[in-house]
Amino acid sequence: MTGMERKVISGSYAQSYAVRLARVQVISAYPITPQTSIVEKLADFVARGTLRAQFVNVESEHSAMQAVVSAAALGARTYTASSSQGLLLMHELLHWASGMRAPIVMGVVNRAVSPPWCIGADHTDTMSQRDTGWIQFYAESNQEVLDTVLVAYRLAEDLAIRLPVMVSEDAFYLSHTVEPVDIPSQSEVDEFIPPRAARAVLIPGQALRVGSFTGTVEHVEFRHAVAEAMARVPAVLRTIEREYEGITGRSHGGPVPTYRADDADVVLMTMGTATTTARGVVDELRADGHKVGLAKLRLFRPFPAAEIQQLARSVGQLGVLDRSYTFGGLGPAATEVRSALYAAPRRPIVSSFLAGIGGRDITPHEIRRIFQVLEAGGSPDPRWVDLEMDREAPHHG
């Protein structure tokens, strides 16, 4: 742990510092609230010369993603960041990135999708990209943001993986809130992240086609190769995070870290910043004798089905809190959890809770309500917790 530095920084700056430490070579981005401070800080690093990267200011998010896809195809280490509408505009290129096995890392500040315009924290933007072949992480703290971006580069560039990675953080709760963050030294990160070992990249003077087109026979082989790489992620991630822990002393607990869940009858699963609030409520309820616990879904793609099945073995009620909604279904994480558990030998009742949509605060009161519902036997239908709270004590203003 030599040379570590503690800074009080936002979740957005945590992304920027990690990108600098990872010695990213090409950055391309388009501004959108609340992502802007990430790329402003990177522009500042580049202007000062403390980050030797090419910074490509583009005219849209679609072009930002194309620029990093093309830069990655030539072998560069790349980064971009976006949010909400910008991420939706990138959608087509997200498929290109994974299909071309481009190891891009992208910071996403989770923000509500319009209409109506709303810039609050909401996971609808990234959940709408779940089928694009990107690895997806959701962070709880600014420290976790920084550490996960560094891990993401190792994971994306691992020759067994070669897939792009999103590191998501909740708008404002992380992006614009400062916390103390331990920043590893450049030499520690250099030891952890070697220069990119590029495979199947364009080399000047060599005839090679990257992207290409296929008949109907070969296409499935490319798709299957992506599926196989995705399936290798949990094991490779464990190895990389062990190594990171060896260097920095920090671990965030793998794909689904749990809290006081070992002997819990009732477990709530959360993503992102709601986890911190829920952890406090678990402590309160435990003090009152309730056998409750918590599971944090850090890795959403690939979905950690094996870990969820393991967790479910001793649990009677499992609640899943989603900060977005799949219209006509459940919360997206709840859908995945139910699907993962269908093949499990022992299945708890899985209830879907929707809270914090559009950036509403997820309060301890809301979390207690969710645990009450779970302890009373759960809910077959999705529960819009924000609105239930309104009916009890309507918002004014």
């Binding site: 194309q66 620029a67 093309s70 030539l74 087509e92 992207g211 290409s212 296929t214």
Partner: protein, 306 residues
């Protein structure tokens, strides 16, 4: 031994899947002869996606990156940024896109790339419609032309609107170099490729590209139709460097535009008044070009490209 005016090396090989008489195939062949092997092409969805042959083969002796139809300009900016970061010098970063992928759906990314003064060559091969999808109208389709979406049927008499002037749009960005090229004039073509290759900054090449199945003519007539297009004034050859416009082929009096229009089935329905109207437009455009050339002789140089 006589000095060859066309570079001898071939970087486009047999086995490609272009139609007989395909001018975009000839354009690629001539372009790569001029650019040489240290070239990376970014190719969006267009005829050339298919012509270059499917995985795992390639008809091109250079690196090729596929990109979606609307983002070639951004791809070039990303490639150049990576080339700079990785220390690749003397690398030609080249986009090769159709007219739809450039002047319609790709216009935003092209504008971005030009405004950023990306050190790259953007080529628009203009076959004047969406040909790879089966001849649908693009913004670059000329007035009155038949396509599958501008039919000659009932009250419809082909495309109702004139062709989009992509060169004017490009020149509004003050590129380092912009030129019109025609594979029927290979020496002029190669000279312009060479000029573009030697310059830095954003460069744009607009290549006239007759399409036998799309324009409804017999495949052995491609070169002759190309000659007529320029000599009738439909596709004048010129270049703009540092804001100075120079017409590179002046054959004296323009031939009547009807000589060009009558070679193609897509114009078979034209009436005498159509010929007259098109002739007036072509002559006016040609006069304007001559005027711009005269005026630009004394024009102030544009700021140098970054």
């Amino acid at each position: 031994m006589a000095k060859l005016t066309i570079p001898e090396p071939e970087l486009m090989h047999s086995g490609h899947s272009a139609c007989p008489g395909c001018a975009p195939a000839l354009a690629m062949r001539l372009l790569l002869k001029g650019l040489g092997p240290r070239t990376i092409l970014s190719i969006p969805a267009c005829c050339w996606t298919v012509i270059a042959t499917p995985y795992p083969t390639t008809a091109l002796g250079v690196g090729v990156l596929d990109n979606p139809i609307e983002s070639t300009g951004a791809s070039l900016s990303g490639l150049r940024a990576a080339a700079n970061a990785l220390g690749y010098e003397d690398l030609n970063v080249v986009g090769f896109a159709g007219d739809g992928g450039t002047s319609d759906i790709g216009l935003q990314a092209l504008s971005g790339m030009l405004e950023r003064q990306t050190d790259a060559i953007y080529v628009m091969y203009d076959n004047e419609a969406y040909m790879n999808t089966g001849v649908q109208r693009s913004g670059s389709t000329p007035e009155n032309a038949w396509t599958m979406t501008t039919l000659v049927q009932g009250s419809s008499r082909g495309k109702a609107e004139p062709k989009k002037d992509i060169m004017a749009i490009v020149l509004a960005h003050r590129p380092a170099y912009a030129a019109t090229l025609n594979p029927s004039f290979p020496e002029d073509f190669e000279r312009k490729v060479e000029r573009a290759r030697r310059l830095k900054g954003a460069r744009f090449l607009h290549i006239f590209s007759p399409c036998p199945p799309g324009w409804r003519f017999s495949s052995e007539r491609t070169i002759a139709i190309g000659h007529l297009a320029t000599d009738c004034g439909v596709f004048p050859l010129y270049e703009v460097e540092d804001g100075k416009l120079r017409i590179t082929r002046k054959g004296g009096e323009l031939k009547p535009v009807a000589e060009y229009l009558r070679t193609q089935g897509r114009f078979a329905h034209l009436l005498p008044e159509d010929f007259e109207r098109i002739q007036t437009r072509v002559r006016d455009d040609w006069e304007l070009l001559l005027k711009r050339e005269r005026e630009s002789q004394g024009a102030r140089s544009a700021p140098p490209a970054a």
